[in-house]
Amino acid sequence: MAEDQLYTSATQCTTWSFGPSTLSTIRQNTNAAGTRSIRRGWKRARVEASSANTPAATTPIPSHTPTPTPTPLSSSTAATLDPASIPDPESLTPSEELTLVHYYILRLIDMSDIFSFPSNVKSTACVFLSRFHLHHSVQSYHPKHLIPTILFLATKTENHYIPLSEFCKRIPKLTSEAVLKHEFTVAGGVRWDFDIRHPLRAAEGGIMELLTVLGGGMNGSSNSNDPGLIALKERLAPNPIRRVQDAHGKMKGYLTKEALVSDVYYQYTPPQIFLAALWLADKDVAEGYIEWRFGENSTMGRAAKKRKKDKKNKSGDDEVTTTADEAAKRGPALAPKLLVLVAQCAEMMVSAREYEKIPVDELKRIDKKLHRCQNPQKFLGAGLTLGAGDNGTKRAPDDAAGEPKDKEESKKKRKAEEDPFGGSLPGRD
């Protein structure tokens, strides 16, 4: 058995690992599918709108859509214009979708912090959202409706269940129906793969190992003549323990933010992400650690010895050990190779910061676009709200009643009505 078969047989590796080009292809396809579904929605809405206009309003309406209940206002206004003359909305681009997803991942992090959930719950929720939207366009499912469900599902999959009633109490205006409504959508949307391999365990194990050897822990005597370890200690002088402890805190920050907002979970293995976060936190600690464990001086004997110990401790660091074991088999060239990778991964994580800096105006612009895509009834006078996972559920065409979500939203809505396309509807509202 290959040492890493456990990871290579995990769903994270088999179904959720992609290189950058595949990742962008998938996103393009998802975007295209979302665009198609918006077109279909608009087409349906047009049919409905024109049937509502003509005297022969009894024309069959697509069977699965509940009978539209146009308000007198909308039908009368719609009667004055030809729905066919209104152009299809401009759809979102893949990069706009991604921007929105990452924005909502940041919101998800905030929401998790309201509850002070442990990092694994937070991280799982973020990965769920990212994975869900890898295959489901934002145009079909608006992330804002999904994030409470996703966070609640993550508490359950990470064994940190809290009763839904308590969960809802902490978030204003959240109802348990709203959370449960999307649960199957989300669970099926992440393909029922609830087990997310986070770098967190590797991180805790690695830090434990560093603190143990630097503190001259239990096997201090056998390590004292390990040249790699001596080099590591020198590099982190004068207070190696303190250095590692400081790095630990900073590293956790990277793991619970930058790592989640970027694509590193798709492209790197958990230990690589851990090392990259450590590298960002303290270059010397990470490089010294890698040199010690995988450099020229790392000895084969150590790996074997270490392994036995691990069996007893069950501390999380034995993935590191087994890799060291493999390194022994394949020769000592691992450290330089690993360092390059770690640097690349770190770079990707840092680039995620861009998403925090995206101006609010840009987000508003995208959301406005999305709003138009998803609400043909508003612009055509008939049809249903699309997306947001509301398929099949009827929503009153009078969207003011349909989206009481929060003030910000209604503000956005008002703004959306002022946009050039919305404004072209004479007599609207």
Binding site: L6, T8, C13, A33, H135, F152, Y161, E183, D195, A202
Partner: protein, 470 residues
């Protein structure tokens, strides 16, 4: 979690090759025909984590793991859903325009596709928690029909917060654990009424049924074979950092070809997260280890080993070794049979939150070899050695699954029986029994309708969902 930091950026595709390797590699093939020979072979098979029944392989190969997991091998640059879409578009040229049912990115549609692959034949069990149907995967142009068990988990019976924790745990772990001695989860879909359906490998019988059937004679070679297969499955769970937490004979299911598989992961959880406490209210009482009765919040794979050790006893005695009526009675039985835990035989035991000391007179010394040799003479010296290591009072002294697999007992004569030659239930009742095993709520020993026998109450305490400890 044991990923490699090795090899650079992940390759875009991993796994078709891997699968092919497992199915075709001569080492595995050879091993099928020769399960029982030298110690080395056994150890290797354990480590290889593959092999065993070719039937299992057949199922694995022909029954894709749902949602493009391994049926639709990942295309060179794209993913499974992409393939699906292309297919549907090709099949239905109008799809692109407005046909509503071509909305491939709709998960309901993927779900429908999965659902359509199976048909339910007949109901074989129903409980408060789940309904089990015998069914089969419909034959396709290239693949024959394959029998499956469809476990429909009822939503919202007691638990009003959506998907139940048992269902989530079972899904989470069975999606990840692939091993010939672990029940295979073939697919997942949701029914119209938002019930979750798990499509599981079809298994005909369970170990409890075999133990209880007095018409069957179980030889030591048979016991050895079942122990070997259970340990292999357990080894893989533990290697993947998963605790089963409900090992008992009726969770050890037997396939048509005689291969034993661990089932029911409703209480499973991952372990060895530093500083994270776990609940001690797990494992059916008769198989629960002493540290859990003492309220240990940090425990390890040794709990499963203890349970399996008691199953080992039960296989030889043909009756449960420690059938306690209450939790207190259970500790009493453990103390009498194995010895009273104290600081000498289990350093630190007195610091466990639920520990109670016994009066000096009642204290029993930890049983030595002689006691076990007397009771389990049939196992022979090597067998007793293994048993003693599995049911040590002190969890740190118990062997790991890997060490157990290396035990001399397995490489001594009589060699383990080949799965196909193991004693089987011949009447048709096994299927009903498996149906009721699958539908049981995790942690229950018996089904409600067994309460007439007076044993229904001896169930594991309910999990405490409150503290995030589960």
């Amino acid at each position: 979690m044991k990923p490699s930091m090795f090899g650079c950026r992940r390759p875009e595709i991993y796994f078709p090759q891997l699968e092919a390797f497992q199915h075709n590699h001569p080492r595995f093939q050879r091993h099928h025909q020769n399960t029982t020979t030298t110690r080395n072979t056994l150890a290797m098979s354990a480590t290889a984590g593959s092999s065993a029944s070719s039937a299992a392989n057949l199922i694995k190969r022909t029954l894709p793991f749902g949602n493009g997991h391994n049926s639709t091998p990942l295309p060179e640059n794209g993913d499974a859903s992409r393939v699906l879409k292309d297919d549907s578009d090709a099949a239905n040229p109008t799809a692109k325009d407005d046909s509503d049912n071509s909305d491939i990115e709709d998960p309901d549609d993927l779900n429908t596709k999965t659902k359509r692959k199976y048909t339910k034949d007949r109901k074989v069990g129903e409980g408060a928690y789940a309904v089990v149907h015998l069914g089969h995967r419909l034959a396709t142009a290239t693949e024959p029909a394959v029998p499956v068990a469809i476990k429909k988990i009822k939503v919202n019976t007691e638990f009003r917060d959506g998907l139940s924790m048992d269902a989530i745990r079972e899904l989470k772990y069975l999606r990840e654990l692939h091993h010939p001695n672990i029940i295979a989860l073939l697919d997942v879909f949701s029914s119209k009424s938002q019930n979750l359906c798990l499509v599981l490998e079809f298994l005909v019988c369970d170990l409890e049924k075999i133990i209880k059937d007095s018409s069957l004679t179980l030889s030591m070679a048979d016991v050895k074979s079942w122990m070997l297969m259970s340990l292999r499955g357990l080894w893989w769970c533990h290697k993947a950092f998963v605790l089963h937490r409900d090992i008992k004979p009726n969770n050890l299911l037997i396939s048509g070809s005689g291969v034993l598989k661990l089932a029911d992961f409703g209480l499973a959880r991952s372990f060895s997260d530093p500083y994270r406490p776990m609940t001690s209210n797990v494992i059916t009482r008769w198989y629960r280890p002493p540290e859990l009765f003492y309220g240990a919040k940090f425990y390890s794979s040794a709990v499963d080993i203890f349970s399996l050790g008691l199953v080992f006893c039960e296989l030889m005695l043909r009756t449960p070794f420690l059938p306690g009526n209450t939790d207190l009675h259970q500790i009493e039985l453990i103390c009498q049979a194995l010895g009273t835990p104290n600081e000498d035989n289990w350093p630190g035991v007195t610091t466990l939150p639920g520990y109670h000391s016994v009066e000096n007179g009642a204290s029993v010394k930890e049983r030595g070899r002689d006691f076990f040799m007397n009771t389990f003479i049939a196992a022979g010296e090597a067998g007793v050695d293994l048993l003693m290591k599995m049911i040590k009072l002190d969890p740190r002294k118990r062997c790991t699954a890997r060490e157990a697999l290396d035990a001399a007992w397995f490489s001594q004569e009589p060699y383990p029986t080949k799965p196909a030659n193991l004693p089987k239930k011949v009447d048709g009742k096994g299927i009903e029994k498996v149906g009721s095993d699958l539908k049981r709520k995790a942690g229950e020993l018996f089904n409600n309708n067994d309460e007439t026998t007076g044993r229904g109450k001896k169930v594991a305490r309910k999990l405490d969902f409150g503290g995030g400890a589960g």
